[in-house]
Protein backbone atom coordinates (compact mmCIF):
# COMPACT_ATOMS: atom_id res chain seq x y z
CA UNK A 1 0.00 0.00 0.00
CA UNK A 2 1.30 3.40 -0.95
CA UNK A 3 0.86 6.34 1.39
CA UNK A 4 -0.84 9.38 -0.12
CA UNK A 5 -0.92 11.52 3.01
CA UNK A 6 1.80 11.63 5.61
CA UNK A 7 1.82 14.13 8.44
CA UNK A 8 4.87 14.81 10.55
CA UNK A 9 4.29 16.30 14.01
CA UNK A 10 1.69 18.63 12.62
CA UNK A 11 0.82 21.29 15.16
CA UNK A 12 -1.36 24.38 15.27
CA UNK A 13 -1.55 26.92 18.04
CA UNK A 14 -3.97 29.81 18.32
CA UNK A 15 -2.17 32.09 20.74
CA UNK A 16 -1.45 29.97 23.80
CA UNK A 17 -4.14 27.43 22.86
CA UNK A 18 -3.02 24.26 21.09
CA UNK A 19 -5.75 23.13 18.70
CA UNK A 20 -3.75 20.37 17.00
CA UNK A 21 -0.91 18.81 18.92
CA UNK A 22 1.86 17.02 17.02
CA UNK A 23 -0.21 14.69 14.90
CA UNK A 24 1.76 12.16 12.86
CA UNK A 25 -0.15 9.70 10.75
CA UNK A 26 -0.11 7.98 7.39
CA UNK A 27 -3.10 7.48 5.14
CA UNK A 28 -2.86 5.07 2.22
CA UNK A 29 -4.00 5.47 -1.31
CA UNK A 30 -7.60 4.41 -1.78
CA UNK A 31 -8.46 4.45 1.90
CA UNK A 32 -11.60 5.93 3.39
CA UNK A 33 -10.36 7.43 6.60
CA UNK A 34 -12.50 8.95 9.33
CA UNK A 35 -11.62 11.51 11.97
CA UNK A 36 -13.90 11.15 14.92
CA UNK A 37 -13.87 13.51 17.86
CA UNK A 38 -16.00 15.76 20.04
CA UNK A 39 -16.67 19.41 19.19
CA UNK A 40 -13.51 21.46 19.39
CA UNK A 41 -11.22 18.43 19.15
CA UNK A 42 -9.26 19.99 16.30
CA UNK A 43 -10.64 18.09 13.31
CA UNK A 44 -11.38 21.12 11.18
CA UNK A 45 -8.09 22.75 12.13
CA UNK A 46 -6.25 19.58 11.12
CA UNK A 47 -8.02 19.45 7.74
CA UNK A 48 -7.46 23.16 7.15
CA UNK A 49 -3.73 22.68 7.48
CA UNK A 50 -3.77 19.77 5.05
CA UNK A 51 -5.76 21.90 2.60
CA UNK A 52 -3.14 24.67 2.87
CA UNK A 53 -5.67 27.17 4.20
CA UNK A 54 -4.01 27.36 7.60
CA UNK A 55 -0.29 27.52 8.09
CA UNK A 56 0.97 24.95 10.63
CA UNK A 57 2.74 26.33 13.71
CA UNK A 58 5.25 23.51 13.31
CA UNK A 59 5.60 20.19 11.54
CA UNK A 60 4.49 19.50 8.01
CA UNK A 61 2.70 17.03 5.77
CA UNK A 62 3.00 15.47 2.34
CA UNK A 63 -0.06 15.05 0.16
CA UNK A 64 0.26 13.16 -3.10
CA UNK A 65 4.00 13.65 -2.69
CA UNK A 66 3.82 17.44 -2.29
CA UNK A 67 4.72 19.43 0.80
CA UNK A 68 1.78 21.45 2.15
CA UNK A 69 3.97 24.41 3.07
CA UNK A 70 6.31 24.63 0.12
CA UNK A 71 4.24 23.21 -2.73
CA UNK A 72 0.77 24.41 -1.87
CA UNK A 73 -0.26 24.96 -5.50
CA UNK A 74 0.36 21.30 -6.37
CA UNK A 75 -1.33 20.18 -3.18
CA UNK A 76 -4.41 22.23 -4.04
CA UNK A 77 -4.57 20.72 -7.48
CA UNK A 78 -4.57 17.24 -5.93
CA UNK A 79 -7.37 17.78 -3.45
CA UNK A 80 -11.04 18.56 -3.21
CA UNK A 81 -12.74 19.78 -0.08
CA UNK A 82 -16.22 20.11 1.29
CA UNK A 83 -16.03 22.61 4.13
CA UNK A 84 -17.92 22.25 7.36
CA UNK A 85 -19.44 25.72 6.93
CA UNK A 86 -21.40 26.83 3.86
CA UNK A 87 -19.25 28.00 0.97
CA UNK A 88 -21.49 28.45 -2.06
CA UNK A 89 -22.35 31.73 -3.74
CA UNK A 90 -26.08 31.90 -3.10
CA UNK A 91 -26.54 34.75 -5.59
CA UNK A 92 -25.63 32.36 -8.39
CA UNK A 93 -27.38 29.30 -9.75
CA UNK A 94 -25.95 25.92 -8.88
CA UNK A 95 -24.84 25.43 -12.48
CA UNK A 96 -22.92 28.70 -12.27
CA UNK A 97 -21.33 27.63 -9.01
CA UNK A 98 -20.18 24.43 -10.64
CA UNK A 99 -18.92 26.23 -13.73
CA UNK A 100 -16.88 28.59 -11.62
CA UNK A 101 -15.39 25.65 -9.79
CA UNK A 102 -14.59 23.83 -13.03
CA UNK A 103 -12.82 26.91 -14.35
CA UNK A 104 -10.89 27.53 -11.16
CA UNK A 105 -9.67 23.92 -11.31
CA UNK A 106 -8.97 23.91 -15.06
CA UNK A 107 -11.44 21.18 -15.93
CA UNK A 108 -11.22 20.96 -19.75
CA UNK A 109 -14.03 22.99 -21.31
CA UNK A 110 -15.06 20.07 -23.50
CA UNK A 111 -15.73 17.90 -20.43
CA UNK A 112 -17.39 20.50 -18.26
CA UNK A 113 -20.96 20.12 -19.36
CA UNK A 114 -20.93 16.34 -19.07
CA UNK A 115 -19.31 16.32 -15.64
CA UNK A 116 -21.65 18.97 -14.30
CA UNK A 117 -24.58 16.91 -15.49
CA UNK A 118 -23.12 13.85 -13.83
CA UNK A 119 -22.54 15.35 -10.40
CA UNK A 120 -25.89 17.13 -10.42
CA UNK A 121 -27.61 13.84 -11.09
CA UNK A 122 -25.64 12.22 -8.34
CA UNK A 123 -26.90 14.61 -5.70
CA UNK A 124 -30.37 14.75 -7.21
CA UNK A 125 -30.35 18.40 -8.18
CA UNK A 126 -30.60 18.13 -11.97
CA UNK A 127 -34.03 19.69 -12.01
CA UNK A 128 -32.93 22.73 -10.02
CA UNK A 129 -29.64 23.42 -11.77
CA UNK A 130 -30.66 26.83 -13.05
CA UNK A 131 -32.35 28.10 -9.91
CA UNK A 132 -30.56 30.63 -7.77
CA UNK A 133 -29.09 28.99 -4.75
CA UNK A 134 -30.76 31.30 -2.25
CA UNK A 135 -33.93 29.39 -3.13
CA UNK A 136 -32.32 26.12 -1.96
CA UNK A 137 -32.84 24.45 1.39
CA UNK A 138 -29.84 23.90 3.66
CA UNK A 139 -29.64 20.23 2.73
CA UNK A 140 -29.75 21.00 -0.98
CA UNK A 141 -26.88 23.46 -0.62
CA UNK A 142 -24.92 20.80 1.20
CA UNK A 143 -25.52 18.35 -1.61
CA UNK A 144 -24.33 20.85 -4.15
CA UNK A 145 -21.14 21.42 -2.20
CA UNK A 146 -20.45 17.71 -2.26
CA UNK A 147 -21.09 17.60 -6.00
CA UNK A 148 -18.70 20.52 -6.41
CA UNK A 149 -15.97 18.79 -4.41
CA UNK A 150 -16.11 15.84 -6.82
CA UNK A 151 -16.23 17.88 -10.00
CA UNK A 152 -12.51 17.96 -10.72
CA UNK A 153 -11.87 14.30 -9.78
CA UNK A 154 -9.43 15.04 -6.96
CA UNK A 155 -6.88 12.44 -5.81
CA UNK A 156 -7.78 13.17 -2.22
CA UNK A 157 -11.19 14.31 -1.10
CA UNK A 158 -11.66 15.99 2.28
CA UNK A 159 -15.15 16.00 3.69
CA UNK A 160 -15.68 17.98 6.89
CA UNK A 161 -18.91 16.59 8.30
CA UNK A 162 -20.33 16.10 4.83
CA UNK A 163 -23.66 14.49 5.62
CA UNK A 164 -24.76 16.70 8.47
CA UNK A 165 -28.17 18.16 7.73
CA UNK A 166 -28.99 15.58 5.08
CA UNK A 167 -31.99 13.29 5.31
CA UNK A 168 -31.19 9.57 5.62
CA UNK A 169 -31.98 8.84 1.98
CA UNK A 170 -29.64 11.50 0.61
CA UNK A 171 -27.00 10.37 3.03
CA UNK A 172 -27.17 6.76 1.85
CA UNK A 173 -27.14 7.98 -1.72
CA UNK A 174 -24.02 10.08 -1.26
CA UNK A 175 -22.20 7.32 0.55
CA UNK A 176 -23.01 4.75 -2.12
CA UNK A 177 -21.63 7.05 -4.74
CA UNK A 178 -18.51 7.86 -2.79
CA UNK A 179 -17.82 4.18 -2.26
CA UNK A 180 -18.16 3.48 -5.98
CA UNK A 181 -16.12 6.49 -6.85
CA UNK A 182 -13.27 5.34 -4.71
CA UNK A 183 -13.20 1.97 -6.39
CA UNK A 184 -13.35 3.44 -9.85
CA UNK A 185 -11.23 6.55 -9.52
CA UNK A 186 -8.76 5.32 -6.97
CA UNK A 187 -9.62 8.26 -4.77
CA UNK A 188 -8.66 8.63 -1.13
CA UNK A 189 -11.28 10.07 1.18
CA UNK A 190 -10.76 11.70 4.55
CA UNK A 191 -13.81 12.72 6.44
CA UNK A 192 -14.91 13.93 9.81
CA UNK A 193 -18.27 12.89 11.06
CA UNK A 194 -20.48 12.69 14.11
CA UNK A 195 -22.44 9.78 12.67
CA UNK A 196 -20.53 7.04 14.32
CA UNK A 197 -22.28 4.11 12.78
CA UNK A 198 -21.39 5.52 9.39
CA UNK A 199 -17.73 5.79 10.22
CA UNK A 200 -18.03 2.22 11.43
CA UNK A 201 -19.73 0.91 8.30
CA UNK A 202 -17.89 2.80 5.63
CA UNK A 203 -14.38 3.63 6.73
CA UNK A 204 -11.32 1.45 6.52
CA UNK A 205 -9.69 3.14 9.46
CA UNK A 206 -10.78 5.57 12.12
CA UNK A 207 -8.71 8.03 14.11
CA UNK A 208 -10.24 9.24 17.33
CA UNK A 209 -9.07 12.71 18.11
CA UNK A 210 -9.49 14.57 21.38
CA UNK A 211 -8.02 17.89 22.46
CA UNK A 212 -5.75 17.99 19.43
CA UNK A 213 -4.22 14.55 19.84
CA UNK A 214 -4.97 11.19 18.28
CA UNK A 215 -6.06 8.95 21.13
CA UNK A 216 -6.75 5.88 19.01
CA UNK A 217 -6.24 4.88 15.40
CA UNK A 218 -7.22 1.57 13.88
CA UNK A 219 -9.82 -0.34 11.91
CA UNK A 220 -13.33 -0.20 13.34
CA UNK A 221 -13.26 -3.86 14.38
CA UNK A 222 -9.98 -3.58 16.27
CA UNK A 223 -11.15 -0.45 18.03
CA UNK A 224 -14.27 -2.21 19.17
CA UNK A 225 -12.30 -5.19 20.39
CA UNK A 226 -10.13 -2.95 22.49
CA UNK A 227 -13.11 -1.55 24.32
CA UNK A 228 -13.86 -5.18 24.91
CA UNK A 229 -16.60 -7.17 26.60
CA UNK A 230 -20.28 -6.41 26.54
CA UNK A 231 -22.55 -3.48 27.10
CA UNK A 232 -25.62 -3.99 29.25
CA UNK A 233 -28.37 -1.45 28.68
CA UNK A 234 -31.03 -1.27 31.37
CA UNK A 235 -34.29 0.62 31.45
CA UNK A 236 -36.23 1.14 34.65
CA UNK A 237 -38.65 3.69 36.04
CA UNK A 238 -35.93 4.61 38.53
CA UNK A 239 -32.98 4.52 36.14
CA UNK A 240 -31.35 7.59 37.61
CA UNK A 241 -31.46 6.24 41.17
CA UNK A 242 -30.18 2.84 40.13
CA UNK A 243 -27.35 4.33 38.12
CA UNK A 244 -26.23 6.45 41.07
CA UNK A 245 -26.35 3.43 43.37
CA UNK A 246 -24.36 1.29 40.95
CA UNK A 247 -21.67 3.92 40.70
CA UNK A 248 -21.66 4.57 44.43
CA UNK A 249 -21.29 0.92 45.41
CA UNK A 250 -19.03 0.17 42.46
CA UNK A 251 -21.00 -2.91 41.51
CA UNK A 252 -19.81 -3.59 37.98
CA UNK A 253 -17.75 -2.01 35.20
CA UNK A 254 -18.26 1.53 33.90
CA UNK A 255 -21.72 2.93 34.40
CA UNK A 256 -23.27 5.78 32.44
CA UNK A 257 -26.75 7.26 32.51
CA UNK A 258 -28.31 8.97 29.54
CA UNK A 259 -31.83 9.37 28.13
CA UNK A 260 -33.37 7.31 30.92
CA UNK A 261 -31.06 4.41 30.12
CA UNK A 262 -28.22 2.93 32.09
CA UNK A 263 -25.28 1.61 30.13
CA UNK A 264 -22.86 -0.67 31.93
CA UNK A 265 -19.76 -1.87 30.17
CA UNK A 266 -18.56 -5.17 31.61
CA UNK A 267 -16.01 -7.85 30.78
CA UNK A 268 -18.56 -10.62 30.39
CA UNK A 269 -22.28 -10.02 30.67
CA UNK A 270 -23.09 -13.70 31.16
CA UNK A 271 -21.40 -13.68 34.54
CA UNK A 272 -22.00 -10.14 35.75
CA UNK A 273 -25.58 -9.55 34.73
CA UNK A 274 -27.20 -11.74 37.44
CA UNK A 275 -25.30 -9.83 40.13
CA UNK A 276 -26.63 -6.54 38.83
CA UNK A 277 -30.21 -7.77 38.79
CA UNK A 278 -29.87 -9.06 42.33
CA UNK A 279 -28.47 -5.74 43.46
CA UNK A 280 -31.36 -3.88 41.88
CA UNK A 281 -33.95 -6.18 43.47
CA UNK A 282 -32.37 -5.73 46.87
CA UNK A 283 -32.50 -1.97 46.38
CA UNK A 284 -36.22 -2.30 45.58
CA UNK A 285 -35.90 -1.18 41.96
CA UNK A 286 -37.69 -3.04 39.19
CA UNK A 287 -35.90 -3.51 35.91
CA UNK A 288 -38.24 -3.06 32.92
CA UNK A 289 -36.03 -3.86 29.97
CA UNK A 290 -32.55 -5.16 29.29
CA UNK A 291 -30.38 -5.51 26.20
CA UNK A 292 -26.89 -6.90 25.97
CA UNK A 293 -24.80 -5.78 23.01
CA UNK A 294 -21.28 -5.78 21.74
CA UNK A 295 -19.78 -2.27 21.82
CA UNK A 296 -20.44 -0.09 18.78
CA UNK A 297 -18.52 2.93 17.56
CA UNK A 298 -20.49 5.14 19.90
CA UNK A 299 -19.16 3.21 22.86
CA UNK A 300 -15.66 3.28 21.44
CA UNK A 301 -15.93 7.02 21.01
CA UNK A 302 -17.02 7.54 24.59
CA UNK A 303 -14.40 5.13 25.84
CA UNK A 304 -11.54 7.05 24.28
CA UNK A 305 -12.72 10.61 24.64
CA UNK A 306 -13.40 10.27 28.32
CA UNK A 307 -15.70 11.58 30.95
CA UNK A 308 -18.99 10.92 29.25
CA UNK A 309 -18.58 7.24 30.01
CA UNK A 310 -19.24 7.99 33.69
CA UNK A 311 -21.62 10.90 33.52
CA UNK A 312 -23.52 10.39 30.32
CA UNK A 313 -23.71 12.98 27.62
CA UNK A 314 -23.76 16.38 29.24
CA UNK A 315 -26.54 18.76 28.27
CA UNK A 316 -23.88 21.33 27.44
CA UNK A 317 -22.45 19.20 24.72
CA UNK A 318 -25.80 18.30 23.22
CA UNK A 319 -26.72 21.95 23.26
CA UNK A 320 -23.60 22.86 21.41
CA UNK A 321 -24.22 20.32 18.69
CA UNK A 322 -27.74 21.61 18.22
CA UNK A 323 -26.35 25.12 17.99
CA UNK A 324 -23.88 24.14 15.33
CA UNK A 325 -26.59 22.50 13.29
CA UNK A 326 -28.64 25.64 13.39
CA UNK A 327 -25.72 27.70 12.30
CA UNK A 328 -25.08 25.39 9.42
CA UNK A 329 -28.66 25.42 8.29
CA UNK A 330 -28.50 29.17 7.79
Amino acid sequence: MKPIIETFNLKKQFGPYTAVNNISLTINKGEVFALLGPNGAGKTTFLSMLCTILRPTSGTALINGFDISRESAQVRRSIGIVFQDPSVDTDMTSRENLQMHANLYSVPVSEQEERIKQVLELVGLSGRADDFMYTYSGGMRRRLEIARGLLHYPRVLFLDEPTIGLDPRSREHIWDYIRNLRKREDMTIILTTHYMEEADRLCDRIAIIDQGTIVALDTPSVLKQEVGGDIITIRSDKSQVLSDLLIQDNIAGHVSYHNDEIKISVQDANFQFPGIVEYAVNAGIRIDHVTITKPDMNDVFIHYTGKELYHGETPERTGRIAMMKRRRAR
Binding site: T52, R76, D89, T90, E96, S106
Partner: protein
Protein backbone atom coordinates in the same frame (compact mmCIF):
# COMPACT_ATOMS: atom_id res chain seq x y z
CA UNK B 1 -3.27 29.60 -18.96
CA UNK B 2 -5.17 28.16 -16.02
CA UNK B 3 -4.45 31.38 -14.13
CA UNK B 4 -6.01 33.43 -16.90
CA UNK B 5 -9.07 31.22 -16.85
CA UNK B 6 -9.30 31.71 -13.11
CA UNK B 7 -9.04 35.48 -13.47
CA UNK B 8 -11.71 35.44 -16.16
CA UNK B 9 -14.01 33.35 -13.96
CA UNK B 10 -13.72 35.74 -11.03
CA UNK B 11 -14.12 38.74 -13.33
CA UNK B 12 -17.28 37.31 -14.82
CA UNK B 13 -18.73 36.65 -11.39
CA UNK B 14 -18.27 40.25 -10.28
CA UNK B 15 -19.83 41.66 -13.42
CA UNK B 16 -22.77 39.24 -13.39
CA UNK B 17 -23.52 40.06 -9.79
CA UNK B 18 -23.35 43.78 -10.46
CA UNK B 19 -25.70 43.66 -13.41
CA UNK B 20 -28.17 41.34 -11.72
CA UNK B 21 -28.73 43.56 -8.74
CA UNK B 22 -31.67 45.62 -9.98
CA UNK B 23 -31.96 48.03 -7.03
CA UNK B 24 -28.32 48.89 -7.39
CA UNK B 25 -28.73 49.67 -11.07
CA UNK B 26 -31.76 51.85 -10.43
CA UNK B 27 -29.77 53.66 -7.79
CA UNK B 28 -26.83 53.99 -10.16
CA UNK B 29 -29.03 55.77 -12.64
CA UNK B 30 -31.18 57.87 -10.32
CA UNK B 31 -28.67 59.21 -7.85
CA UNK B 32 -26.63 61.21 -10.38
CA UNK B 33 -29.90 62.61 -11.74
CA UNK B 34 -30.76 63.98 -8.32
CA UNK B 35 -27.36 65.61 -7.99
CA UNK B 36 -27.51 67.01 -11.45
CA UNK B 37 -31.04 68.38 -11.45
CA UNK B 38 -31.76 69.30 -7.86
CA UNK B 39 -28.36 70.11 -6.43
CA UNK B 40 -27.05 71.33 -9.75
CA UNK B 41 -30.01 73.55 -10.53
CA UNK B 42 -30.10 74.93 -7.01
CA UNK B 43 -26.44 75.86 -7.02
CA UNK B 44 -26.60 77.25 -10.52
CA UNK B 45 -29.19 79.81 -9.54
CA UNK B 46 -27.87 80.71 -6.09
CA UNK B 47 -24.11 81.01 -6.39
CA UNK B 48 -22.88 82.60 -9.51
CA UNK B 49 -19.89 81.26 -11.37
CA UNK B 50 -19.50 83.74 -14.12
CA UNK B 51 -19.12 82.25 -17.56
CA UNK B 52 -19.68 78.71 -16.36
CA UNK B 53 -22.80 76.58 -16.39
CA UNK B 54 -22.74 74.94 -12.93
CA UNK B 55 -24.38 71.75 -14.14
CA UNK B 56 -21.76 71.40 -16.81
CA UNK B 57 -19.15 72.09 -14.14
CA UNK B 58 -20.23 69.32 -11.77
CA UNK B 59 -20.96 66.78 -14.48
CA UNK B 60 -17.42 65.32 -14.59
CA UNK B 61 -17.34 65.51 -10.79
CA UNK B 62 -20.52 63.43 -10.57
CA UNK B 63 -19.02 60.77 -12.79
CA UNK B 64 -16.04 60.57 -10.47
CA UNK B 65 -18.27 60.55 -7.42
CA UNK B 66 -20.40 57.69 -8.71
CA UNK B 67 -17.26 55.74 -9.53
CA UNK B 68 -15.77 56.45 -6.11
CA UNK B 69 -18.82 55.23 -4.21
CA UNK B 70 -19.25 52.17 -6.41
CA UNK B 71 -15.59 51.24 -6.08
CA UNK B 72 -15.76 51.33 -2.29
CA UNK B 73 -19.04 49.48 -2.13
CA UNK B 74 -18.11 46.77 -4.57
CA UNK B 75 -14.59 46.50 -3.19
CA UNK B 76 -15.77 45.63 0.25
CA UNK B 77 -17.89 42.82 -1.20
CA UNK B 78 -14.83 40.74 -0.35
CA UNK B 79 -16.15 40.95 3.19
CA UNK B 80 -19.45 39.44 2.10
CA UNK B 81 -17.57 36.67 0.34
CA UNK B 82 -15.77 35.94 3.55
CA UNK B 83 -18.92 36.14 5.64
CA UNK B 84 -20.80 33.72 3.41
CA UNK B 85 -17.85 31.39 3.04
CA UNK B 86 -17.39 31.65 -0.70
CA UNK B 87 -13.97 33.25 -0.26
CA UNK B 88 -12.73 29.93 1.15
CA UNK B 89 -13.79 28.13 -2.00
CA UNK B 90 -11.77 30.60 -4.06
CA UNK B 91 -8.74 30.65 -1.81
CA UNK B 92 -8.42 26.86 -1.64
CA UNK B 93 -8.46 26.56 -5.43
CA UNK B 94 -5.18 26.16 -7.34
CA UNK B 95 -5.40 29.76 -8.58
CA UNK B 96 -2.66 31.92 -7.07
CA UNK B 97 -3.52 34.68 -4.64
CA UNK B 98 -2.27 37.28 -7.08
CA UNK B 99 -4.67 36.00 -9.73
CA UNK B 100 -7.56 36.00 -7.29
CA UNK B 101 -6.76 39.61 -6.50
CA UNK B 102 -6.48 40.47 -10.19
CA UNK B 103 -9.80 38.80 -10.97
CA UNK B 104 -11.53 40.62 -8.17
CA UNK B 105 -9.86 43.89 -9.11
CA UNK B 106 -10.66 43.70 -12.81
CA UNK B 107 -14.21 42.60 -12.12
CA UNK B 108 -14.90 45.41 -9.71
CA UNK B 109 -13.20 47.87 -12.03
CA UNK B 110 -15.52 46.81 -14.81
CA UNK B 111 -18.51 47.44 -12.52
CA UNK B 112 -17.16 50.87 -11.72
CA UNK B 113 -16.62 51.70 -15.38
CA UNK B 114 -20.15 50.59 -16.21
CA UNK B 115 -21.42 52.87 -13.46
CA UNK B 116 -19.42 55.77 -14.84
CA UNK B 117 -20.52 55.20 -18.41
CA UNK B 118 -24.21 54.98 -17.44
CA UNK B 119 -24.01 58.66 -16.52
CA UNK B 120 -22.70 59.88 -19.88
CA UNK B 121 -26.04 60.09 -21.68
CA UNK B 122 -27.35 62.51 -19.04
CA UNK B 123 -25.03 65.08 -20.53
CA UNK B 124 -27.60 65.53 -23.30
CA UNK B 125 -30.23 66.39 -20.73
CA UNK B 126 -28.23 69.38 -19.50
CA UNK B 127 -27.20 70.39 -22.96
CA UNK B 128 -23.57 69.30 -23.06
CA UNK B 129 -22.71 68.17 -26.56
CA UNK B 130 -21.16 64.73 -26.11
CA UNK B 131 -19.31 63.55 -29.14
CA UNK B 132 -17.53 60.31 -29.69
CA UNK B 133 -14.01 61.75 -29.42
CA UNK B 134 -14.80 63.23 -26.05
CA UNK B 135 -15.93 59.83 -24.80
CA UNK B 136 -12.87 58.14 -26.25
CA UNK B 137 -10.64 60.61 -24.44
CA UNK B 138 -12.57 60.35 -21.20
CA UNK B 139 -12.59 56.55 -21.01
CA UNK B 140 -8.85 56.01 -20.49
CA UNK B 141 -8.86 58.69 -17.81
CA UNK B 142 -11.77 56.98 -16.11
CA UNK B 143 -9.89 53.68 -16.16
CA UNK B 144 -6.95 55.34 -14.45
CA UNK B 145 -9.24 56.74 -11.78
CA UNK B 146 -11.06 53.43 -11.34
CA UNK B 147 -8.10 51.15 -10.71
CA UNK B 148 -6.71 53.16 -7.81
CA UNK B 149 -10.13 53.52 -6.21
CA UNK B 150 -10.96 49.84 -6.51
CA UNK B 151 -7.64 48.95 -4.92
CA UNK B 152 -8.47 51.22 -1.97
CA UNK B 153 -11.76 49.36 -1.53
CA UNK B 154 -10.06 45.97 -1.71
CA UNK B 155 -7.41 47.06 0.77
CA UNK B 156 -10.02 48.00 3.34
CA UNK B 157 -11.97 44.83 2.70
CA UNK B 158 -8.85 42.80 3.36
CA UNK B 159 -8.13 44.63 6.60
CA UNK B 160 -11.66 44.78 7.97
CA UNK B 161 -13.05 41.85 9.93
CA UNK B 162 -16.71 42.66 9.50
CA UNK B 163 -19.09 44.81 7.54
CA UNK B 164 -19.60 47.15 10.50
CA UNK B 165 -16.57 49.19 9.47
CA UNK B 166 -18.21 50.26 6.23
CA UNK B 167 -19.64 53.39 7.84
CA UNK B 168 -16.09 54.45 8.65
CA UNK B 169 -15.12 54.16 5.01
CA UNK B 170 -18.08 56.32 4.10
CA UNK B 171 -17.05 59.03 6.55
CA UNK B 172 -13.28 58.91 6.28
CA UNK B 173 -12.70 57.94 2.65
CA UNK B 174 -15.71 58.53 0.43
CA UNK B 175 -16.86 61.92 1.59
CA UNK B 176 -13.45 63.57 2.13
CA UNK B 177 -12.20 62.32 -1.21
CA UNK B 178 -15.37 63.56 -2.86
CA UNK B 179 -15.48 66.98 -1.18
CA UNK B 180 -11.76 67.58 -1.61
CA UNK B 181 -11.68 66.68 -5.28
CA UNK B 182 -13.02 69.97 -6.57
CA UNK B 183 -16.01 68.07 -7.89
CA UNK B 184 -18.55 70.48 -6.40
CA UNK B 185 -16.71 73.81 -6.25
CA UNK B 186 -13.73 75.31 -8.01
CA UNK B 187 -10.51 75.19 -6.04
CA UNK B 188 -9.26 78.51 -7.36
CA UNK B 189 -10.90 80.72 -4.71
CA UNK B 190 -10.77 78.55 -1.58
CA UNK B 191 -8.39 79.11 1.41
CA UNK B 192 -4.89 77.75 1.00
CA UNK B 193 -5.29 74.90 3.53
CA UNK B 194 -8.26 73.57 1.63
CA UNK B 195 -6.37 73.94 -1.60
CA UNK B 196 -3.46 71.90 -0.28
CA UNK B 197 -5.71 69.25 1.16
CA UNK B 198 -7.22 68.93 -2.29
CA UNK B 199 -3.87 68.73 -4.00
CA UNK B 200 -2.92 65.59 -2.07
CA UNK B 201 -6.16 63.97 -3.16
CA UNK B 202 -5.56 61.98 -6.36
CA UNK B 203 -9.18 62.48 -7.39
CA UNK B 204 -8.53 66.21 -7.81
CA UNK B 205 -6.31 65.33 -10.73
CA UNK B 206 -8.89 62.93 -12.10
CA UNK B 207 -11.64 65.53 -11.97
CA UNK B 208 -9.33 68.14 -13.47
CA UNK B 209 -8.40 65.85 -16.35
CA UNK B 210 -12.00 64.90 -17.06
CA UNK B 211 -13.07 68.56 -17.07
CA UNK B 212 -10.31 69.39 -19.48
CA UNK B 213 -11.65 66.76 -21.83
CA UNK B 214 -15.35 67.48 -21.37
CA UNK B 215 -15.61 71.22 -20.90
CA UNK B 216 -13.14 72.33 -23.50
CA UNK B 217 -12.09 75.98 -23.39
CA UNK B 218 -14.52 77.05 -20.68
CA UNK B 219 -12.42 75.16 -18.10
CA UNK B 220 -9.19 76.67 -16.90
CA UNK B 221 -6.93 73.72 -16.10
CA UNK B 222 -5.53 73.42 -12.58
CA UNK B 223 -2.65 71.29 -13.81
CA UNK B 224 -1.31 70.32 -17.19
CA UNK B 225 -2.82 67.10 -18.55
CA UNK B 226 0.51 65.31 -18.37
CA UNK B 227 0.76 65.97 -14.64
CA UNK B 228 -2.80 64.76 -14.09
CA UNK B 229 -2.02 61.52 -15.85
CA UNK B 230 1.28 61.06 -14.02
CA UNK B 231 -0.36 61.49 -10.63
CA UNK B 232 -3.16 59.09 -11.49
CA UNK B 233 -0.67 56.51 -12.73
CA UNK B 234 1.34 56.71 -9.52
CA UNK B 235 -1.88 56.51 -7.51
CA UNK B 236 -2.82 53.31 -9.36
CA UNK B 237 0.53 51.67 -8.94
CA UNK B 238 0.86 52.48 -5.26
CA UNK B 239 -2.68 51.40 -4.42
CA UNK B 240 -2.30 48.25 -6.49
CA UNK B 241 0.78 47.19 -4.57
CA UNK B 242 -0.80 48.01 -1.21
CA UNK B 243 -4.06 46.26 -2.13
CA UNK B 244 -2.35 43.14 -3.39
CA UNK B 245 -0.15 42.93 -0.31
CA UNK B 246 -3.12 43.33 2.02
CA UNK B 247 -5.19 40.80 0.11
CA UNK B 248 -2.44 38.19 0.04
CA UNK B 249 -2.31 38.34 3.83
CA UNK B 250 -5.96 37.45 4.35
CA UNK B 251 -6.32 34.16 6.23
Amino acid sequence: MSEIRGIYTLWLREVKKFLREKPRLINAICQPLLWLFIFGTGMRFSSGMPGINYQEFIFPGLIVQAMLFTAMFMGVSVIWDREFGFLKEILVSPISRTSVFLGKMLGTSTDVMIQGIIIFPFAYLIGIPVHIFMVLEALPLMILITIGLVCIGLTFASLMKSFEGFGLIQTFINLPMFFLSGALFPLANVPTWLQWASYVNPLTYGVDALRTVMMGDTWVQLFPMSLDIMVLLCFDIIMFVIGKTAFCRVE
